[in-house]
Symmetry: C2
Subunit: 143 residues, 2 copies
């Protein structure tokens, strides 16, 4: 099993970061504008497709865990974790996308793309303006 | 053993990307301004420290492989690979930093930081201006 790891520090209280990770408005502000929620399912849509996440666990200002319920074959069944902790003026976000069964080229792409989206989340919380899809930074021919 | 993976696409010929990865001038334009070279060693310095890389292999416009000769304990002995291929107007760069012995929090940080530096490399090659240290994007309290 393979995993994608990231770490960003957001200059804001952990409660604000948690809100960006757990509300439709927050998620639409940094990942994709086309975000909807129903029950424990969050639906994220992008021009080429999308993902449905099942929210498995949330602990206020501390932890968020999703399981990919629908999406590209490589993603289904994988998990995404956001672990938060306060460190001075920063909220540190430890990100993990785990359970990749193969080390495919798409994993390289998703790793870089997650980094740019986490930076978008940081900017959203710090400045009020992120870069969600379809306004996200293009990193390659795969967008 | 653990690894960091990334993928970016640079709108430029592979020869230009190769130059950004194999010349002191190129590397100083996207990673750190304080880059020097001597024999098969490249020295990269940042405000808090730095890395010496031994260039193990280069194949023009195709492949670059470094071994970390000096640097933070977690990095020494790890390898960094850049694999290039042309894909229409893009040069695809597959990046791998392999040989991490432990999944430490520093690995999360380096993964995100590599992504932002690879985006700096993309901008340098496409526009002539990257964001090398000390002008690099701050991602957290660890810089």
């Amino acid at each position: 099993m393979y995993e994608i790891l990231h770490r960003v520090g957001v200059i804001a209280p952990a409660e604000d970061v948690f809100k960006a990770l757990t509300t439709v408005e927050g998620l639409a502000g940094w990942w994709t504008e086309d975000t909807t929620g129903e029950g424990d399912i969050l639906r994220f849509r992008f021009p080429p497709g999308g993902f449905d996440m099942r929210v498995l666990e949330t602990r206020p200002a501390e932890f968020v865990r999703w399981e990919v319920a629908e999406g590209p074959e490589e993603w289904v069944g994988t998990e995404i974790h956001f672990e938060l902790r306060q460190e001075g003026e920063f909220t540190i976000v430890l990100f993990k996308h785990e359970g990749w069964r193969e080390r495919v080229e798409f994993m390289n792409h998703c790793s870089t793309k997650w980094a740019t989206f986490l930076m978008s989340m940081k900017r959203l919380v710090e400045t009020g303006k992120g870069e969600p899809s379809p306004h996200d930074v293009q990193i390659s021919d795969w967008h």
